[in-house]
Symmetry: C2
Subunit: 380 residues, 2 copies
């Protein structure tokens, strides 16, 4: 085993954890908070609550909410100007992956100058960022845990993967109560994303014993709780999903992802599709493609997914993939790639783009654009 790194933010976890926000902000030196969220979270009422908490603790608050579901380079630049004008000192983000990634992009430029595309790829951020405190409102993206930041370059129509230790927030406040105001569809899209994080990082080239532990934990908890969380909004199930998503974040932030995410980023840049909806279409095909390179671990995934301990690694792996396909159908998720991509002719371009994504580097099996094309055709 090569030397591996395991780095995470301080995590404050539990129902009511959000009430620690002002105290956390003061601990990292806040006087003027730059607060990022979006319209959806505003409607849920949590944005107003956070503003109230900051105000009650004598913290100034500059609010920014111009964030798309796939946040854009121009929005990052706009946020930077507002941060600078506001003379802010700490970044707080509340929301799913989009506001959190936008906040990371803004913090990157504030600390390092230039434009966000200057930092595309791994380890290109050289100077410190302002302290970041993130509060996830979905159990999925784990941007509050990870060293990943995904921003769309509108000119090239590509989702850029920016990866750096500096992008791990100082503090992540994970409060499962926030999930209660999510609708069924967002809980599912986020949960499937967390599952994809766990599965891809578990078989990644950079997986370590610590990332493996968290990946397995996440897979098990998502399979056991996602349906009940989405259909019944059961708080116990939502809490287990929060744990799962946090564990999945600890895993993929340190182990990296694979070609499922490389393809999802390329598709997201081209078609502006909600990230989580890509996975049910492509995950089984990517797993089948990767199988020969990580048979034992795919077998372990199969055992976690099916709950069955018998059979060879190959049999367990295949049963796991089939079980996932059935599960996606049962959850009424679209499993046909053709429903996401308007023109089949775009696929080769998508596959080419994917081979340039940073996530492609840690995929367990080498893959050319043609190999990825065959994966997409299977999923079509």
């Amino acid at each position: 085993m090569l030397s591996t790194k395991f780095a995470i933010p301080d995590v404050i976890f539990g129902r009511g954890a959000i009430t620690h926000l002002a105290q956390c902000a003061k601990r990292v030196g806040a006087e003027r908070v730059f607060f990022v969220s979006d319209q959806g979270v505003e409607d849920s009422g949590w944005v107003g609550l956070v503003k109230g908490m900051l105000r009650a603790n004598d913290l100034e608050c500059v609010y920014f909410n111009d964030v798309n579901s796939n946040p854009r380079d121009k929005q990052v630049q706009e946020g930077v100007e507002i941060y600078r004008e506001g003379k802010c000192d700490v970044v707080v983000a509340l929301g799913g992956g989009s506001p959190m990634d936008a906040a990371k992009g803004i913090a990157t430029i504030v600390g390092n100058g230039g434009e966000i595309k200057d930092y595309e790829g791994a380890n290109r951020i050289m100077r410190p960022l302002p302290p970041m405190i993130f509060i996830p409102s979905t159990a999925g993206s784990s941007s509050d845990i990870s060293q990943f930041c995904i921003i769309t370059d509108m000119e090239r129509r590509v989702k850029m993967s920016i990866i750096s230790r500096s992008l791990v927030p100082s503090i992540s406040i994970v409060d499962p109560q926030l999930l209660v105001t999510q609708d069924r569809s967002l809980i599912l899209a986020a949960g499937v994303d967390a599952l994809a994080h766990a599965i891809e990082s578990y078989v990644s080239k950079l997986a370590s014993p610590f990332t493996d532990l968290h990946a397995r934990n996440a897979i098990q908890l998502i399979i056991a709780n996602l349906e009940r969380a989405a259909e019944e909004k059961d708080i116990e199930a939502l809490e287990q999903l929060s744990i799962a998503s946090t564990s999945a974040g600890m895993s993929f932030s340190n182990a990296g992802l694979g070609d499922l995410h490389a393809l999802a980023h390329a598709l997201g840049g081209l078609c502006d599709v909600l990230h989580g909806w890509v996975h049910p279409t492509l995950l089984p095909s990517v797993m089948r493609y990767n199988l020969p390179s990580c048979m034992a671990k795919m077998g372990e995934i199969g055992r976690l997914v099916t709950g069955l301990n018998t059979g060879s690694d190959r049999d367990a792996a295949m049963m796991g993939i089939e079980k996932l396909e059935q599960w996606f159908e049962k959850l009424q998720l679209n499993t046909k790639l053709q429903k996401l991509v308007p023109n089949r002719e775009d696929l080769m371009h998508v596959c080419n783009m994917a081979t340039h994504d940073a996530c492609h580097l840690t995929n367990p099996r080498p893959a050319s654009a043609e190999d990825l094309m065959s994966v997409c055709e299977e999923a079509w």
Copy 2:
């Protein structure tokens, strides 16, 4: 569940990880390293290697090795003077719990002034410490992971527990190769300490889903690998022990410990006994005492220890405790408290001291000094 916190250092893990030291030191701003180790580690050759690595990377090195196996307040004070005279900027420690805890004590005073006893208890360190990079040479204390620092107050003859988020090092470099130069007895003492960390934190009042995950991982790996690691110095088994100790550290640093450690600290202060040798004498009795307050989790521990999945929680717990007793006998560890304590009359004093230790606060079952006395008598 209350809100809980989970904080760990950046962990660099793997065979050969130690070669990243100079790069890590530079990343946290080192020019003049204050390097703490002890005679035992010097004899193993690792101290010379670290000095060579620092020198080869143009880092000045001020070396300090006046550290006992239970490090003392006066040694901390002496280290502080040498750090200041040397105008050092970063603390590197290499060794077991003793050099690492001494280094933490020194860093505390360097950053905060005063004397080490000013910081006894939880959360009393208010100003930042110099960056710390720790390299454990044993798989046991996990001081490289934890927010704990144990220093002996020689006047009061008590081991002080100092607990603070500030005591988590910046970076922990865990290289299983360092364990190869340990003798059987030290591997066992350290491994049993890691097991005690995992078991006590698993049933602690502050346990969280994240500490639980790591505690279970540690228990399982220690039971499976300690004997082979100690008897055969098998590198695979030693690597698994390193993972276990790191996981146990992630667990107890955030969940806290219990009355076994409260008693071990009181005994260590009075009798200067090697910390790890206390656990085989007291662990089973403390577990039996705590059983009514954490039946389900003790059952889970029992299942992990015996590898059997059947029976009620109580039955599984009792079988686990018995299995541990047999295991200590098989490893030829002393299980009689009387062999550690010269005078039985000291026991009541030890139990009184233990109720004032910070670890006592997180024990799952309330315990008076008299309750602890009955535990000690069972273990006598």
